[in-house]
Amino acid sequence: MREQIKAALRASKADYTEIRLEQRESTRIVFRGNNLETADVTIDRGGIVRCLVRNGGWGIATFNDVSDLARRVEQAYQGARAIQGEPIELAPIPVTQDRITVSLQQDFRGTSVSEKKALAERYNAILTGLDPRIVDNQTYYADTFNHLTFANSDGTFIQEERPMVTTYFLAVARENGNVQQTFDGISRAAGFEVALGHEQWVQEIAQRAVDLLSAPRVKGGRYTVVCNPTLAGVFAHEAFGHLSEADFVYENPKAQEMMVLGRRFGQDFLTIVDDGSLPNLRATHKYDDEGTPTQRTELIKNGILVGRLHSRQTAAKMGEKPTGNARATGYRYPPIVRMTNTFIESGQTPFEEMIGDIDLGIYACDAYGGQTALENFSFSSGYAYMIRNGQLAEMVRDVILSGNLFVTLDSIDAVGNDFEWSERGMCGKGQGGLPVSDGSPHIRIRDVLIGGE
């Protein structure tokens, strides 16, 4: 294959050409209720060719049949020629020859489907057996082993193995017309061991669904909110992180004004970082999907906007350096600017102190989802508690936080000393789910709008 790839690149008439091939095999076990939904193995093979004609644009061809790469290069080149655009430059990066192999603690390729099914079945029995009010549940296990090849016309050739093990759990409790659900999971670029030993956690997930049945809906209004590390991490990613992706600003002078480096976004103790090079996290890679080495990029440092995330194209356009954030959701997609492992750095405030002077507030935990429209955001917390007179009080449900980013970042008035990673994130920007990690300690935000009756 190596020679075919090199020959196809040599034959390209484009100014820049890259080829990315993937071959992945996945095993998936899904239980719903007491029934097995599926236990299956799927094989996915395909590739993408991307050609740049400097005074034209990007032409792209994606395919499953990898037998005729020269034809795919020609298709992509013709596409690039169809565009009459402004010149596109790519910031320079080192030419790389590398082969990245993984050694897994417990290689899931050597584990039988029966064993994987038995594990999922054990977890599922915990969900179904906990309480008769649990009326629906799901246990999901999946592993994927991906062989990835990336090569470009500058001479870079990278072969990489990318494993991923994912397991998640869903519990739905019902009492009369009241239906409550909880969801949690873990996913990591590692071996079968990731899926082991979660019995206690699965039980907590199921118990929480039952507990939510007796939790009242939160009363809408404006509150001081303490976010647990998971929710705070999602907030950092969704509400702020997407604005620091350079593809949002690089062609838009007004947006550049809004996101001008040096602007104050928060108080001195707020620092937000993206780092794709941290070991063993979900979005960790040695290189991004353009072959740029990943790195630590500070986005907000001590409250001031100091950096943003780049692909080669956005970096060239803005006269900055590529940051290793061009990522693609598989071979169907060209790389675009994406976050990797994004986090709010640990601060000073212990949790007790953070809630200690709140007369009436909300402790919001986990996230069901979040969406942003640039300056506006909306997040659902998975579960929450009222804070009354400096103490955690009753559980409440349906806590949905919304607000304006600029106001809200500035309203973060405490950052905890209890940093945690959350290893379940998927980011849906443009191309559907791409693994990301979010991290944060507890944070406290003043004056947050909570929807509700």
Binding site: A39, G57, D65, E86, D136, G177, G221, A373, F377, D398
Partner: protein, 431 residues
């Protein structure tokens, strides 16, 4: 392949996909990308010793392993009384348009440029992103009971996202067009966006409280989504649908009628059969506010011991699940202009954030509004920011003030009118 599976299993099914598409992308008003996509793949299912197995591959050279994986999957499967269907005739809506399939790349680029130009003529400072995707999709389903159904569709989808940034004020707007029949509808699409951008220039404030809320077709998905979850046979079988066991009951205002309609010409959701070979049929699911039925695929129907309804939909790597073909909320009596003219003070919701987040199955919704307008004295007076709405469709759809005559296709498979609810809780930052 089917023959080889039939030699080893009681029943077998092979589903083949062969898709091609061309995508053209305008970014920030300029033509930026051109993408061609070819998809090939095979999914197989068998019933072996009364157990269902599934596997799929996009590597057509790996047929032996696909067969092996399918049989292995069945060995782990649950016992299930599932029968792949016999050949039966279905409706014949038009889903393939040779004129659309033949639109040249140059013409597609022109169409994108026309959209950009129409929007910029109204709002020179806007950034317009347009994505045009023209597909040629062909699926073939064969099973051991003799079914052989080939579906050829030529969908065109145009997605337009605009943003306008003024200081810290960002106006974002999304709109879509999906069709399998070419009718130059892109000018209406661009015109709608231009109109809304014009309206969005004036910003006004709104005090929190309970107000009439008019949902645009795009925003009406807030109301339609919990209904689709409630009507899904899988949620009914699991006992989590609030609609389970309530067929024949008046659960909503009599103005509400919901139809699953795979017989409409020109829609990508239409066709003769579902993806399991069961004939498609037009079905009223809610009529005059009264619940009429649910949707099922083969597996859920077998579990629930009911007849499948022709709603099995699948992707290459995802086994079939119950899904709507085209979900239509029927238009009403009142023209939109008259609906708006009748509102003394209320909110028009165009785009929301956070659809599908939160506790959808219970009917609850709570959404921040990315684009909403204040209506006063029967007229749209300005855009309102930092507003959210909340409610529960099983309470709030018991009384519908008006449903517009006009409907619009949104998100590809939903045909929705404007829906006016008499009162919803509106949270704002206004005074």
């Amino acid at each position: 392949m089917l023959e080889r599976l039939m030699q080893q299993a009681e029943q077998a099914e092979v589903f083949e996909i062969e898709n091609e598409s061309t995508q053209i992308g305008f970014e920030a008003n300029k033509l930026k990308s051109f993408q061609v996509e070819e998809t090939r793949g095979i999914a197989a299912r068998v019933m072996l010793d009364g157990r269902l197995g599934f596997a799929a591959s996009s590597d057509l050279s790996a047929v032996d392993r696909l067969i092996e994986n399918t049989l292995e999957s069945a060995r782990h499967g649950d016992a299930l009384p599932l029968r792949f269907p016999l050949p039966q005739p279905g409706p014949t809506p038009q889903v393939h348009d040779p004129q659309l399939a033949a639109l040249s790349t140059d013409r597609l680029i022109e169409i994108g440029q026309e959209i950009v130009d129409i929007v910029l003529a109204v709002e020179g400072g806007a950034h317009v992103n347009v994505n045009l995707e023209r597909g040629a999709r062909c699926t073939t389903l064969r099973n051991s009971a003799g079914v052989q159904v080939t579906a050829q569709k030529s969908p065109l989808t145009i997605t337009v996202a605009t943003e306008r940034v003024e200081g810290d004020d960002v106006v974002l707007m999304f709109d879509y067009l999906t069709t399998t029949r070419w009718d130059e509808g892109h000018r209406d699409l661009a015109g709608r966006i231009a109109d809304k951008l014009r309206l969005a220039r004036r910003v006004t404030t709104l005090a929190p409280g309970r107000l009439p809320v008019l949902f645009s077709p795009t925003a009406a998905l807030v109301l339609a989504l919990p209904i689709t979850e409630g009507l899904d046979g899988k949620n009914v079988y699991r006992g989590i649908s609030p609609l389970a066991g309530r067929i024949g009951e008046q659960l909503f205002d009599q103005k509400l009628a919901v139809i699953d309609d795979p017989t409409i010409d020109g829609r990508p959701g239409s066709g003769s059969h579902d993806a399991e070979g069961v004939p498609h049929q037009q079905r009223a699911l809610i009529d005059g506010g009264v619940l009429q039925g649910f949707i099922y695929d083969l597996k859920t129907a077998a579990q629930a011991n009911v007849e499948p309804t022709g709603n099995g939909q699948r992707d290459l790597f995802r086994p079939p699940t119950p899904e709507f073909s085209n979900l239509v909320i029927q238009g009403g009596e009142t023209p939109l202009a008259a609906v708006i003219a009748g509102i003394k003070k209320g909110l028009l919701v165009e785009n929301v954030l956070g659809i599908g987040q939160g506790n959808v199955i219970t009917g609850e919704f709570s959404n921040n509004l990315s684009l909403a307008f204040l209506i006063e004295g029967g007229e749209i007076v300005g855009r309102v920011k930092d507003v959210s709405i909340a409610g529960n469709i099983y309470q709030d759809l018991r009384q519908i003030e008006a449903v517009s005559q006009e409907s619009q296709w949104v998100y590809g498979r939903f045909c929705l009118p404007y829906v006016l609810l008499p009162e919803l809780n509106v949270v704002t930052k206004g005074e």
